[in-house]
Amino acid sequence: MSEPWLVADGLSLAYGRTTVVHDVDLALGDGDTLGIVGESGSGKSTLARALLGLLPPSGGTVSFSGTPLGRLSRAERGEYRRSVQPVFQDGVETLDPRMTIGDSIAEGLRGGRAARDARVRELLADVGLDPRSHPGLAQRRPHELSGGQRQRVGIARALAVEPRLLVLDEPTSALDVTVQARIIELLDRLRAERGLALVLITHDLAVVDRLCERSLVMYDGRVVERGRTRDLLTRPEHPYTRRLRAAVPELGGGIPEVQPLP
């Protein structure tokens, strides 16, 4: 594992008076791939928001290159923002419905119109929406695109500022399974080509198996197990991890047996 530059230390998060994440530690360095696995109510999405600097900690810290987010200088904050980018679950809300695709992608870019347009074209090609095979896409609006295309645009927007880490919150859950497979391939390719680190939040164990070297399992706001993804999936130790693993249906297998929780 490389030198960690995004670290959560004893992180707790709350909405109002309710604590939804308790005492989480994690450390991310360049090229790391971490899965955060859990069901609804596990706090995984909240944790993602904290890593993205969208939610301040109620306890503990999130630090960028050693400095807690709340104490970053203006310049450091800019660097942090560029380093960590989100990809959200596809939905009507990922892209501003009133903006063209091109404008959405270019939102983080500076410079003249021509330079930005060129960069947008490059990015579209990078995510599999090459303007030559999809002419005029940059002028379209989100509702004119398919779910898979919108998700690619979301990825392009994130890549525009050349981040070191992508935080993906259920990036494929709303997509058809064939589309999902292609997006996963895209993410894998981008990771390999650019040395991107990935934090993948999902309930889908098979997807973390594919993309994440290491994973955390969350339940009720706490990390109940962590380690190499392969180990978690083949030799789960915590009862919840076992339960989660057992619940995944196999193609042509039997009905998953799920024990009620202790």
Binding site: E93, L95, D96, R98
Partner: protein
Amino acid sequence: MSVHPPLDPAHDVEQPAYRGRWTRRVVAVVGADRLAAVGAVVLLLIVAAAVLAPWLAPYPDDARSATHSLEALQGPSAEHWFGTDRVGRDVLSRVLFGARTSLTIAAAVLAIAAVVGVFLGVVAGYAGGWLRDVIMRVTDVFLAFPALLLSTALALILGPSVTTAIIAIAATWWPWYTRLSASMASTIRGRAYVDAARCLGVSRGRIVARHVLPNSLTPVLVQLSLDAGGVILTAASLSYLGLGAQDPTAEWGLMVQQGQSLFSTAWWVAAFPGLAILVTAFCFNVLGEGLRDALDPRRGNR
């Protein structure tokens, strides 16, 4: 006094700014909704009449300071289609110029109310926290006053005039826009594309300008058209009470008040301005409802 309660913000979703679709949709629904279409046409005529009043009015001076006591209280005739009033002024001309006054008041009031209201609402909705609490409390206080009462009080303090009427009515109208836009801003703030913008380092001001305001526009526009009728009625009420426009300004409410005591003998003095108020308010309402239905996201994509 708002004739229509504000739209339920929970149902308001930002509309894609695909302008072609937008206008097509509006035209399609207004086309389907005959009443709205009729309202729109009549409204256009009224606006045209207001704009062209100096040329359309047969006796434009009557709308200002001219008086002709010898021709007082003549019934509708070939020379005076709407008859003359107590001091011999042509009612038709005064009604036409009154359209100017009423529409100007409506436009001014709504402009002030919308600008102030939306600004406060967006700040409240986006900032949240104590700022939101403060702004919404103040809004609630204003909303607690019956609008006419507050307008009346302000007009009494400021002295009656058209300007007073504008200020007084605007002061009671802005809270609705604050509520509406605070709710919209709060909703939009939670949207993923706003999070993405924050992560891209876009400043709060730019987020509000680029994302929050444009996506809040549609319900505000609809509310404006629904409110226009109400504002006109309120302005007329104020003038009727003697707190708005003063003689010799031609203003429909004032004209109704002036003709009221003469109703049994010279009905035309109050009837025509009164009719003008009714028709205009009605058309605005009907148009507003047509627009609201046209832009209702639940209609689906047409």
